[in-house]
């Protein structure tokens, strides 16, 4: 015997209060009342004694008894009284409905239907077999487990949520979904029922390797037959060619998910212009890479397609946006430019232009870098300028001394211009020691003072670097410090141009980008709309999660990576349910056996008893107030 809504103590206390109130009302109702009437003559018949007055508190014990019984039955109904043990009590079930990307695969045997339709049908079938008093909570499971409903006894709410479930863009995270369902069930407060997984059980290799299912006493799996032939794009990546200026190396990875070999053709378009196609022979379950080369400096959309089309079309197409190839224009004024030319020609992003000092004209392009090599023009340049060993006479910077040999050279750390520079690498000859202004940045210090300084304008648009020595002369031109220092200058002057760019198309879901740094503050993960995505820096990588198709930029230090997450996250292996797991929809008799809801009948019976009492004993009951017309008319 169980009270589902109340403890026995609560029930007894409530019934006691209601019974006391009912008895009090009863006694009040039956107490002596004053009643003004038209006549008294018929109460006392002539010649007969008046009816004997009996002073009894309980005048109609059956009426009181019926009222108490009615109240008792109604309270039992409210308490959801049930016979039997807790085995018949209400239970809470969690339905985990797979809505991973793979659920959008079309069924070869049923037109216009996909795996999601099958999963919905089996979930609804299970829902119909659940006892009416049990509560159900729906969890949608893909890369993240999301509750779609609260604990519900209203089956229409659950059914509506099931029908509204659509395939997502990520693969199934089964262990997280089942763990989440188990936690929900433990926190519900009622007896735990089943945790039901409805789906094909396709998971990634990473998920399969780390699969640890929670201990679930009643675990049911509604399996789906998903033997569907499919081949698709796993990833599409683009990187600037290291050998060819203005070219991109494109890498396309394709996989055959089916159990039979397939021959497919991969095509590549850039800006709707075909760039090439590759026939690919894919063995069953095999993955293969093909590469393309695209020549362009302009930005545009790069699209890869796979033919022929198959049951799952979402992974037959991938696209990414190639950014424009930007460059830095460098104008060198030098009468001895031979030493500079190799250093400037090493980076394809630098467009050098060498001029004689006599050809000097002020540079109109504010983004260009002007290098003045042992030269001071009459009109000083305004934009970005690199002064290399300016002449002592008429120097634009105050020179404290001229050293023939620099000793104790020390690079000032923690500045982008001195990143990677070490003092022991440098064999510095003659150098000028400057008298720095308060706003100048000291970059290299000798014993007598700074030999290299820098400054930036207030708005940060123009930069000036002054070297008191010539790194392209003497022994220093053979040092690694020279190209590093020049590269640092370029990056400082034009960081956008020299940022390492790597674009690629991947599947949505959990993304981990390699990142050697530790500083979290320099990392930004941005969507196309400029919103910040939450991320974590862990194990030398930046990790973030994208639940749907999107374009995401990750800025980390000097590198930028653009993710076009247009591909669905696909599975690698099929999960096999452990032995002992219940399978399929439970039989009707199994559910009916536990469906012993007494409360509606108790409520009806209680109401019937109260109505009967009112009819039989109520002061204004229809039996007593009914006008008996026939005797009246007969009397008339």
């Amino acid at each position: 015997m169980e009270f589902l809504n109340l403890t026995f103590g609560q029930f007894a206390a409530l019934f006691g209060a209601v019974a006391a109130f009912s008895v009090a009302l009863y006694l009040l109702d039956r107490t002596r009342r004053k009643q003004i009437v038209a006549t008294l003559r018929f109460w006392v018949e002539p010649g007969k004694a008046a009816p004997v007055t009996r002073r009894s508190r309980i005048q109609q014990p059956l009426s009181l008894l019926l009222q108490l019984v009615g109240m008792l039955l109604l309270l039992l109904a409210i308490a959801e009284f049930q016979f039997g043990g807790r085995g018949n009590a209400r239970r809470d079930h969690v339905l985990v409905l797979d809505n991973s990307a793979w659920m959008g695969a079309a069924l070869p045997t049923r037109p216009n239907a996909n795996l999601m339709d099958l999963a919905r049908a089996s979930a609804l079938g299970w829902l119909r077999a659940v006892p009416a008093a049990d509560r159900v909570l729906l969890v949608r499971a893909n890369g993240l487990a999301t509750p779609a409903t609260a604990w519900e006894t209203d089956r229409r709410v659950i059914a509506r949520a099931i029908l509204e479930t659509t395939p997502g863009a990520t693969s199934l995270n089964l262990s997280q979904s089942l763990e989440f369902a188990s936690q929900l069930q433990h926190g519900s407060g009622s007896l735990p029922g089943e945790i039901v997984y409805a789906g094909p059980g396709r998971i990634s290799t990473r998920e399969a390797n780390n699969l640890t299912l929670p201990k679930i006493p009643a675990f049911r799996v509604l399996t789906l037959d998903d033997n569907i032939a499919n081949s698709g794009i796993r990833s599409l990546g683009a990187r600037r060619s290291a050998t060819d200026t203005g070219a991109w190396d494109i890498l396309l990875r394709v996989r055959n998910y089916g159990t039979a070999p397939r021959a497919v053709t991969a095509t590549l378009n850039f800006g709707n212009i075909p760039q090439g196609s590759r026939p690919i022979e894919l063995a069953a379950g095999a993955e293969q890479e093909v590469s393309f080369s695209v020549h362009t400096r302009a930005a545009g959309l790069l699209e890869a397609r796979l033919y022929p089309k198959d049951a799952f079309g979402a992974d037959n197409y991938a696209a990414l946006e190639l950014p424009e190839s930007r460059s830095l224009r460098v104008v060198v004024y030098s009468d001895q430019p031979e030493g500079l030319k190799p250093a400037l020609a090493s980076d394809t992003r630098v467009l050098p232009e060498f001029r004689k000092t006599a050809q000097y004209v002020p540079e109109p392009d504010p983004n260009a870098l002007v290098i003045l090599h042992h030269f001071r023009p009459e009109t000083l340049p305004r934009g970005n300028v690199l002064w290399i060993d300016p002449p002592q006479a008429n120097s634009p910077f105050q020179i404290m001394a001229r050293l023939d040999h620099v000793e104790n050279l020390r690079w000032v750390p923690d500045h982008p211009l001195t990143a990677g520079l070490r003092a022991r690498d440098v064999q510095l000859g003659a150098a000028s020691v400057f008298v720095p202004r308060p706003t100048d940045i000291r970059l290299a210090e000798a014993t007598d003072g700074p030999v290299m300084i820098a400054s930036a304008s207030d708005n940060g648009k123009s930069h000036t670097v002054v070297m008191g020595f010539d790194p392209f002369a003497g022994a220093m031109r053979f040092e690694l410090t020279t190209p590093l220092m020049l590269a640092n200058v370029f990056r400082w002057v034009a960081p956008d141009v020299f940022r390492d760019l790597d674009v690629g198309t991947q599947s949505a879901g959990a993304i981990a980008m390699p990142y050697a740094g530790k500083d979290k503050d320099t990392v930004q993960v941005l969507t196309d709309s400029g919103d910040n995505l939450p991320f974590n820096v862990r194990d030398k990588s930046v990790e973030f999660f994208a639940g749907e198709s999107a374009r995401v930029r990750v800025l980390a230090g000097n590198s930028e990576r653009v993710y076009s997450l247009t591909l669905p996250e696909m599975w690698d292996v099929k999960w096999t349910p452990p032995a002992g797991v219940r399978k399929g929809i439970p039989a009707w008799n199994d559910s009916l056996r536990r469906n012993l809801d007494w409360w509606p009948w108790l409520a009806l019976l209680g109401a019937a008893v109260l109505i009967a009492e009112w009819i039989a004993y109520g002061r204004y009951s229809p039996l007593k107030l009914r006008v008996v017309k026939r005797p009246l008319e007969r009397a008339a």
């Binding site: 002596r32 009643q35 006549t39 018929f42 004997v52 006008v627 009397a635």
Partner: protein, 296 residues
């Protein structure tokens, strides 16, 4: 919105009453008028019979054609249509207002309806409210346009006092010796028994139309348990334990009382109608009163 004289009966209901007529069985000497024919000959419009001429008869009534042919004088007699006053005794005692007061309202509405029926047929109606004694009445005649006066008179009545039928009947016979139809609208709940007084009224040649009204609680009391009853008229108290048996005895006593009143009416060639106030008024008029031929 209803004005004075329109709260008791609405216009639609009055229109339905226009086809009815108050009926009585006896003939009463009186003036020409009304729609109840008299067996008394007189100066009416309709020929009734011939008789021999006697000295002093009106020569205008001599049948001269018969005289010329038979050489005898015959007098033409015409049927008179008397203006017999219909007197309506309306109980305004406190017992009529006991409980919810619906009995008094019902009685006034019924009186208003009968008034209108009589006025439409050009009868003369005399409204006589009473409780312990006869109160000031109102005589109405001359057609339906006088109904408003009757309705306003009925609306202004207030229930008060105890009922004393014997005193009332004595007073009535003194003030209104002319015989006629007497309609009594009452619950007939008197401290003393009312049957002798009613018989007294009939013995003086009046035709009785007794309409007994009761509220449902007057006949079938709904109370149970210990009840302290107070008489609305006398203020007498009775503390009694009411149970099913007591209620059954009460109803039997009430029915016997109603039967006694009915017997008085029928024994004197009158009419009786017992009407509960829970009955709709139109059903009481077009059903009960038509069935007992009080009106037709």
């Amino acid at each position: 919105m209803s004005g004075r004289g329109e709260t008791l009966l609405d216009r639609e209901f009055l229109e339905r009453l226009e086809r009815l007529t108050i009926h009585w069985q006896r003939s009463f000497a009186g003036l020409v008028g009304g729609h109840n024919r008299s067996r008394f000959a007189g100066g009416g419009q309709e020929f009734l019979d011939h008789r021999h001429f006697h000295d002093g008869d009106d020569l205008r009534a001599v049948n001269w054609r018969a005289y010329m042919r038979l050489d005898k004088m015959f007098l033409k007699m015409f049927q008179i249509e008397p203006r017999v006053p219909v007197r309506m005794l309306l109980d305004t005692s406190a017992s009529m207002a006991a409980g919810t007061g619906e009995k008094f309202l019902f009685a006034r509405r019924l009186a208003a309806a009968l008034c209108y029926v009589g006025l439409v047929r050009l009868d003369t109606i005399q409204l006589l409210p009473f409780s312990a004694t006869l109160r000031e009445g109102k005589t109405l005649g001359g057609g339906r346009h006088r109904y408003r006066v009757a309705a306003e008179f009925l609306e202004d009545l207030k229930p008060e006092g105890a009922t004393d039928f014997l005193t009332i009947v004595r007073q009535y016979l003194n003030e209104y010796p002319q015989r006629g139809l007497v309609i009594v609208l009452s619950d007939f709940l008197d401290e003393r028994t009312c049957e002798p007084a009613l018989q007294y009224l009939a013995d003086y040649g009046n035709e009785l139309m007794l309409i007994q009204l009761w509220a449902d609680e007057d006949r079938t009391p709904p109370w149970s348990g210990e009840v302290d009853f107070v008489d609305a008229e006398s203020g007498g108290r009775l503390r009694i334990q009411v149970d099913d048996e007591a209620r059954r005895l009460y109803t039997e006593g009430f029915d016997a009382f109603s039967a006694a009143i009915k017997e008085v009416a029928l024994r004197n060639d009158g009419k009786y109608a017992g009407i509960p106030t829970s009955l709709p008024l139109d059903e009481a008029i077009f059903g009960t009163l038509v069935r007992v031929r009080s009106i037709a």
